[in-house]
Subunit: 384 residues, 2 copies
Amino acid sequence: MLPDQQFLRIPGPTPIPPSVQHAMNLPMIGHRDQETKDLLHSIKPKLKPVFGTNQEVLMIAGSGTAGLESAVVNAVQPGDEVLVIVTGAFGDRFAQICTEHQIATHRYDVKWGEAAEPEEIEKYLKSHPHIKAVFATLCETSTGVLNPVKELARVIRQHSDALFIVDGVSGVSGADVKMDEWEIDILITGSQKAMMLPPGLTFAAVSERAWKVIENNSRPSFYFDLAKYRDQLDNDSTPFTPALSLLFGLNQVLELMEQEGLEAVYSRHRQMMNMTRAAFKALDIPLLTSDESASPTVTAIKPDDFDPDALRKVLKKEFNLTVAGGQKHLKGSIFRIGHMGYCSPADILQTIGIIEVALNKIGKPAELGSGTRAAQEIMLSGGS
Amino acid sequence: MLPDQQFLRIPGPTPIPPSVQHAMNLPMIGHRDQETKDLLHSIKPKLKPVFGTNQEVLMIAGSGTAGLESAVVNAVQPGDEVLVIVTGAFGDRFAQICTEHQIATHRYDVKWGEAAEPEEIEKYLKSHPHIKAVFATLCETSTGVLNPVKELARVIRQHSDALFIVDGVSGVSGADVKMDEWEIDILITGSQKAMMLPPGLTFAAVSERAWKVIENNSRPSFYFDLAKYRDQLDNDSTPFTPALSLLFGLNQVLELMEQEGLEAVYSRHRQMMNMTRAAFKALDIPLLTSDESASPTVTAIKPDDFDPDALRKVLKKEFNLTVAGGQKHLKGSIFRIGHMGYCSPADILQTIGIIEVALNKIGKPAELGSGTRAAQEIMLSGGS
């Protein structure tokens, strides 16, 4: 096996483009110097279209969970009633954060592998008129489900005054999301997924409606006080020391996205999803989610006649290919392929090709080349 | 198309392993300081097995051609008679260098795509008793031929006193070569092929027999005077400023080779060759060379019903995949895939998968997945 080669196909962290890695190697600068102001000034306008918003997108040094907690502590207060739509491990995390902050947390649990149904949420909101915020996950990383956030936003706005707060961590910049048009109130993401950066940076965009609520809140956190980030960012600055290397990288990531074009970025992700799904269908290996609720950034496979962890072991040991296992109760019954960020249809061909060989190695008869062919057909037809 | 992604499958320069790239980013050191001595001291013993020699391997800042010229100017003098075995563009270059140095140059031309036959060279040497040196190419990059250097060395030693000088540029460290055991007198290579480094460094290993000849020569070159390199290297130094970043990288390259094991490195290259050849056979697209004379580092394909340059154009434009075209009279009639250095069987799967799609794009009907399957079968059987 070739040393020093890694094929990283987990749903984050994801591979870093060489020019981004290069940018992150730039020498440190003073975080209160003009260079940092210039850097933030350059980043700000380029971030907005990625979130589909005219609001400034706030940048916080921290992992995605820091972004989720900042949304919770800014938008709701202890004792407030909230609804958390739980479609997997990361919906569950949102609920845990709310509970730890003494928020009156209603959970709406959906079977893992399925998407939330807007009609059900509509019914729930009608019977619970005091809900102050609804939390949902755009792409549920643990199952590969893309929730219908646009439709959820519509029913929430129609049937309540609740803020709609969305965890976009493994979705934003891989899946099209239009925060302003869809009327999402807070949209969070992390750097290490479709944003093509290492972990360590989280993003929050906040609607006018949400700012009004936030300004009337007591804000129990010093570090997560979003208004501080907004006020400083208006002056091209940050309230606390920013993660400068990640910002160097972010500026280059946004250049690459502009170069490719955001619509092309989304189309590439849909094509990679379609290739991955077509390959496993051709190999007659079941997928966890339906086509309708499938995410363009991660695909979960639920084999019925082999052990996914045995496959993962061979992939890692013999081919340097890392795919993810299942989380919580799906541990041992699924595996997950990340296809987001710095990942191309050609990389998916390679992933499928390796998996076909590895399946035969673990004694699962899989027709060599058949999944590859199904994926190639989608490349040829330009299917996205 | 994903920006900032390049699949470089030409027969050099080749991709650089991340840990080597990282090593090359180390800060500069003084080239006469102890750090440089320590670096050369660390490199020296690790280079010998790659060349299959107990001689010190000399390092010269320059491209592969600098190495070839240094062999010529050190080992032969104006007026000497030499034989150059020309199996392609790089054999031709050796002949050109000899001619420019007023050496009486006999060419033994072999049809491009075929290997030299030791029996023919034996006959030639018997009828030309004054030949002082025979020049040959280990891997002829322009055709993907691996010449039978071991057998050539045997007939040369049996039937003449000529020095045997081998251009190992796209062969050494991808193909097994045993300089001492086979009795090669001078073996040259470059950094940018199977050595996994950027261009800019060339290597020369010299036998005891060759040193005796060199010491009696007038040496018309100042920079290429190999004895200077030998004398300085004995003291862990260099006669002129060394290409330090490349040496930082080289030290790491040699670590990676030790980690993988040289036999495993050669076996990986043979497997990649077998995968590539099996794929094109399955696709019914002719190869330029026979199985017997095929190189483990580069494969030339000679299609009979499509334009290779049309294919190359689509590969580059739509998939960021670069393969090489033909040189000299093979321009426009072949394309060449490099599979050496930092390249794995999984990378060959990807290359084949992309080519299958691209063939259909240029209107060449190729059964999707069929070449991939043939390559996968070799991965499964461990064929090398």
